[in-house]
């Protein structure tokens, strides 16, 4: 029996999305095959990893993640420049977590100032995220979308409860938009439909099916992403062809495996390496299931994921 490889030709492809401006603009997505299946189609762009920074010092991050940004994380501008210049980041994700009513409750004006300062300091593309407070995010993201006008950022996250205002602001100021739903492929499709029914260009949306950390529901995110990719490629479903986001750092750096010390749990080994490994493996699994854009925290985890990407493409 002679072997003939069963190669698939897919009907659909993932939209390519470009963010940022000038020669630091970056494109991701655009492939017409399952992740890293370059043997049967084309993957024109490498997945993009954005370094996560925030508007307030990362006092809520575990020590091992904080340590990596010692001396810069007290100021978002310093932090952003450090990522761009020292860590050679291709993009950063600025999370305005300080705007959350239960945190510093920073105002839209405060957020606008931070965004303007960061944008003035770096030339790489910037992803601007709210605090995931559906109501507060509407006022914050509307204000910062305008402040970042024409820098071709990604604004997020639009959810079922607030997508209208946020999508309108992203549209008016020429940004891309993250549409997030909670681990439900059908609701993810529905949100993409609702956003495009507003007149928002479907090729300017990034889908966030919601991340989960290794050991804490990763298999749900993994399978939702895999199913979204299959719908995009095999069924040519135009509502599911947006690049996928894995918002990894935030979900990883709060679980026990990244926070517990080696003294408390000697059978789990070195806490620092464990945390880095946890973030890198979560990210890699999501790349294999379909993510084109990752938001991550630890520089060593990012470096490790870049290295495996190099071997995968």
């Amino acid at each position: 029996m002679a072997f003939t490889p069963t190669k698939e030709t897919y009907a659909g492809k993932v939209y390519a999305v470009t963010i940022g401006t000038g020669d630091r603009a970056v494109t991701f997505g655009g492939e017409n095959v399952l992740p890293f299946h370059s043997f049967e189609g084309t993957t024109p762009n490498r997945p993009l990893i954005a370094f996560e920074i925030q508007d307030v010092p990362p006092s809520d991050w575990p020590e091992n993640a904080q340590k990596a940004f010692e001396g810069v994380s007290d100021d978002p501008v310093k932090w952003a420049k450090y990522c761009q210049d020292e860590l050679k980041a291709r993009a950063i994700a600025l999370r305005l977590v300080g705007t959350h009513p239960d945190r510093e409750n920073r105002s839209p004006e405060d957020a606008v100032k931070t965004v303007k300062d960061v944008l003035a300091a770096v030339s790489i593309p910037v992803i601007i995220l709210g605090s995931n407070h559906a109501e507060k995010d509407t006022s914050i993201l509307v204000a910062v979308a305008e402040a970042a006008k024409d820098r071709n950022c990604i604004i997020g996250k639009a959810q079922e409860a607030n997508y209208k205002t946020i999508a309108a602001a992203a549209m008016a100021n020429n940004h891309k938009l993250i549409a997030m739903s909670e681990l439900d492929i059908n609701l993810s499709k529905q949100l993409n439909i609702l956003i495009t029914q507003m007149g928002f260009d479907k090729e300017r949306v990034i889908t966030d099916p919601m991340c989960s950390a290794l050991g804490y529901g990763l298999e749900y995110t993994y399978s939702v992403m895999e199913r979204i990719r299959l719908a995009a490629l095999t069924q040519n479903d135009v509502t599911m062809q947006q690049p996928l986001l894995g918002d990894v750092g935030m979900y990883v750096w709060k679980v026990k495996e990244t926070t517990a010390s080696e003294a408390d749990l000697p059978q789990w080994g070195s806490a620092e390496e464990r945390g880095i490994a946890w973030e890198a493996e979560t990210a890699t699994a999501l790349l294999i299931s379909g993510a084109e854009l990752l938001i991550m925290r630890h520089p060593k985890a990012v470096a490790a994921v870049e290295k495996i990407i190099e071997e995968l493409i």
Binding site: N186, L187, K189, I193, Q197, D237, T239
Partner: protein, 285 residues
């Protein structure tokens, strides 16, 4: 096709309140309407009914049979409530149907009741811990339920196999697996096994205007696969039967006059058969 009128469920607010107050009015009104619109049996779903389930089931059976000359499908996980209901059931109007036994050991004793009261019984093809992955697993469980029924002395002719319809909004791939299971179940005995579905669960969680559309065409697809009975809204099913020719024409690749209707049928079939991913707005795409 036996329609088991479905509207008397504790999940519906109006019915629940009537059950709590033992107010016969709404119960009898709904039962009568289901009967007039073509039901051959009435489903009385009282939920797990931990407290006072016996009284409640007896009250439901007698209340319904006071005004409607039909047998009752007794729907609860509470075995003693079932037994109480069976005791007062008026068999002149047909034999009752128990909803349900399954492959969960907790539900085995239900078969004893079926044998003791000469009742028919639904065999839900699920086990303990986890849903069946596909049609083959459903058929595997069905075979075990059938074997157990024989042990308990319940004739296979009295078993209605239920493949468990899941919500299309969250478990779309099961829509087609249930259709396959209905075909398999019939082949498992000669004469063919009877089958039943809890139909409207297919559209549970879908927008209100989409629900009857999914219910109707899913019902017709199951009917084409050989389904013998459905727990469903008799009014909706009567409408479905009126549209059967349209659906069969679309399936045969024929054009139908009403272009909007044709689109609706095609899109719904694509969602049921898993050719397009379901979204609440699928009809607008």
């Amino acid at each position: 096709m036996l329609i088991i009128g479905e509207k008397l469920s504790i999940i519906a607010k109006r019915v629940r309140e009537a059950m709590m107050k033992k107010d016969k009015g709404p119960i009898q009104e709904i039962a009568t309407r289901q009967w007039k619109e073509g039901s051959g049996m009435i489903d009385a779903n009282i939920g797990p009914a931990e407290d006072g389930g016996e009284d409640l089931m007896q009250w439901m059976v007698t209340t319904i049979q006071e005004v409607v000359p039909l047998p009752i499908c007794l729907d609860t996980t509470n075995a003693s409530a079932l037994e109480a209901g069976l005791k007062v059931h008026n068999n002149e109007w047909g034999r009752p149907l128990i909803n349900s036994t399954s492959n969960d050991p907790e539900r085995f004793p239900i078969l004893e009741l079926a044998a003791k009261y000469n009742s028919q019984v639904i065999g839900l093809t699920v086990g303990k811990g986890g849903l069946p992955a596909d049609a083959e697993e459903r058929a595997g469980i069905a075979a075990e339920i059938m074997a157990r029924a024989m042990e308990y002395g319940v004739p296979l002719e009295d078993i209605y196999l239920d493949p468990l319809v899941l919500q299309i909004a969250t478990s779309q791939d099961h829509a087609v697996k249930v259709i396959e299971a209905i075909k398999m179940f019939q082949e498992m005995n000669d004469p063919p096994m009877k089958t039943v579905v809890g139909l409207s669960n297919i559209s549970n969680g879908c927008p209100k205007h989409v629900r009857p559309i999914l219910n109707k065409y899913y019902f017709l697809m199951l009917m084409n696969a050989g389904l013998t009975s459905a727990i469903a809204d008799a009014h909706e099913m009567a409408e479905a039967l009126n549209e059967k020719k349209l659906l069969d024409d679309v399936l045969a690749g024929k054009e139908i006059d009403d272009a909007a209707k044709m689109k609706e049928i095609k899109k719904t079939l694509d969602v049921i058969m898993g050719n397009t991913l379901y979204a609440h707005s699928y009809l607008e795409m």
